[in-house]
């Protein structure tokens, strides 16, 4: 049960029940769909990136508590970050949920609540779906968006 409490922390339960930045975004410069075919979780992520900085981000979709909360906390964390920051953050978050540490927990901020996921290897994909979608949005739609 202690592992379970570690996984379903109150912050995660709260973000699952009341996801932040949930909905469509007007004037998005980058977007991507994410899908976990194994469990059916779906996410649509939209961002506004200006001068290499994420100024706004929102998501829609359906999934388990871990994937919904992860997307919600991610959107909160991303606002105001540079793209270079974002990539480094994904690396650290990935290390955190796969049990490889993740470095300074302070730098991860609220993302640190997902540390418990590392005890549940089968759920790692739930936690990282939104981040993979983020990378797809920035890499895929990124090229045409920057020409504007």
């Amino acid at each position: 049960m202690s592992d379970l409490r570690e996984l379903y922390q109150s912050v995660i339960l709260d973000h699952n029940k009341h996801p932040r930045n949930f909905g469509a975004l007007d004037g998005a410069t980058h977007k991507a769909d994410g899908h976990n075919p194994l469990c059916g979780d779906k996410i649509n992520l939209q961002l506004i990136v200006e001068d290499g900085v994420v100024t706004d981000v929102a998501f829609e979709g359906e999934g388990c508590a871990i994937s919904t909360a992860s997307a919600s906390v991610m959107t909160e964390t991303l606002k105001g970050r540079t793209l270079r920051d974002v990539e480094a953050l994904f690396g650290r978050f990935h290390d955190l949920v796969t049990g490889k540490g993740g470095g300074d927990l302070d730098e991860l901020g609220k993302l640190a609540v997902f540390a418990g996921v590392s005890e549940f290897p089968i759920r790692v994909k739930c936690a990282t779906l939104s981040w993979h979608t983020l990378r797809a949005a920035l890499e895929g739609a990124g090229a045409p968006a920057t020409t504007e």
Binding site: L4, L13, K17, C39, G40, C64, A65, F120
Partner: protein
């Protein structure tokens, strides 16, 4: 092999059988894995529709083959090969007897149900379908009874149609009747739905299909573990099944096909054992079932499968079905008591599947919390995405009942679900 029928024998299994009840404590003792603890809790295995556990008799039969008479079949003149061939062909006869097929040449060993359905689609289907023809399936099918038909329809220009299901997850029979026409060449339906538990009226559907000269392919993956299957009584033209869902090994299953249909079917995979003669420019093919069994088969699997069928037969199929029906009724009543839980699949004719969703708790979270309690269930779309779409849910949690499950297992499930409520409020 055969279970002694003398009533004088004092062994308690016989007594339990005389009372027509499955003695779960005896059954449980036959399954070594049920001793296991998971996360410090006693294992409660309720994922039987995905795969069943193996009794000692099956494990021993497989082990005995590898330790004492491992050899290739249908080839060697040496002793071990003869023993292996005898056991492998004996397994075929065992399946034939269980399914009440007319001849053992009507039983083809495959890797499982999926391969069996693909075999029918790519041999019978490819040879008999063309533009304007139709294949009729249903919305409740497992992906393995959808995708093979999509593939063969693409290859032949035939059209795939699906019978809808109602709000309980039962086939809409009027629609089935409407969709069955002279154009229908193949009807492919599950005997029992893996995601809903619905038992389909196969015998009735066989008569309807035959009335328009279509053949009936039955996906029996969930059928064989739950009821005695008599292919002649059902009047199925093809019946596909998997060993691992009926307490046998993985990687073995089979296809029953009516001999005159098999005789006319072209080969599927080419290789050894399926030929009579091979020259560089052409080959002649072996008779069924060997025409459809290219290469060295899963010999150990077939032997394990025969042991599994013997085992279930020794318990008595009628008792197995009664035990499951009793637990299904008990489980349905128990889950209906849980607040904000909705059962998905409430057809009047139903096997031991309890598929459900809970408000505010996603099936994957339900599965993780139950796992921490040692309870194994399946969560997800159960390879039946059209069913999920029909009920407007992304996924369900599914508890499915086997011969070793008890009321205590259902009680543990209910306690686990209360824990889910604690976590998710």
């Amino acid at each position: 092999m055969a279970v002694p029928k003398q009533k004088s024998q004092p062994a308690s299994r016989q007594e339990a059988q005389a009372a027509d009840v499955l003695d779960a404590s005896h059954v449980r003792a036959d399954f070594p894995i049920l001793d296991r603890d998971i996360h410090g809790k006693k294992l409660v295995y309720l994922d039987n529709a995905a795969s069943t556990q193996k009794p000692r008799a099956v494990i021993d039969a497989v082990k005995h083959y590898y330790e004492r008479y491992n050899s290739n079949v249908h080839r060697g003149v040496h002793h071990l090969s003869q023993e292996a061939t005898f056991a492998y062909e004996g397994a075929r006869k065992r399946v034939q007897a269980l399914l009440n097929a007319e001849d053992d040449s009507e039983i083809i060993f495959t890797r499982g149900t999926t391969e069996a359905i693909n075999l029918v689609a790519q041999t019978y289907g490819r040879a008999n379908l063309g533009p304007g023809d139709e294949v009729l399936i249903s919305v409740m099918e497992h992906h393995s009874n959808i995708v093979p038909w999509q593939l063969v329809c693409e290859q032949t220009g035939a059209t795939l149609k699906a019978v809808p299901i109602d709000e309980h997850g039962a086939l809409v029979m009027d629609e089935l009747e409407r969709l069955l026409t002279e154009k229908t060449k193949i009807v492919a339906l599950g005997h029992i739905s893996n995601s809903l538990g619905t038992i389909n009226p196969i015998q009735k559907i066989a008569a309807m299909a035959h009335a328009v000269s279509a053949v009936l392919v039955v996906d029996g993956a969930q059928g064989l573990p739950h009821a005695r299957v008599d292919v002649r009584e059902l009047d199925a033209d093809f019946y596909a099944f998997s060993g691992h869902k009926v307490y046998g090994p993985t990687g073995i299953g089979g296809l029953y096909g009516r001999r005159e249909l098999l005789d006319a079917m072209p080969p599927w995979q080419g290789g050894g054992d399926m030929i009579l003669t091979v020259a560089i420019d052409r080959s002649t093919y072996n008779d069924p079932p060997f025409r459809f069994e290219a290469g060295t088969p899963n010999i150990a699997g077939a032997i394990g499968l025969a042991a599994a069928l013997d085992y279930v037969d020794s318990l008595g199929y009628e008792r197995v079905a009664a035990h499951e029906a009793e637990l299904l009724a008990y489980g349905t009543a128990a889950l209906e008591q849980i607040e904000d839980l909705r059962l998905i699949g409430t057809a009047p004719e139903k096997a031991g599947v309890l598929s459900f969703v809970m408000d505010g708790a996603h099936p994957h979270d339900v599965g993780t919390i139950l796992d921490q309690e040692g309870i194994a269930i399946r969560t997800g779309h159960h390879c039946a995405q059209p069913v999920m779409e029909h009920f407007c849910v992304p996924a369900t949690a599914r508890a499915s009942i086997g011969i070793y499950n008890t009321r205590e297992d259902i009680d543990a499930l209910v306690r686990g679900l209360r824990k889910v409520r604690e976590v998710f409020g």
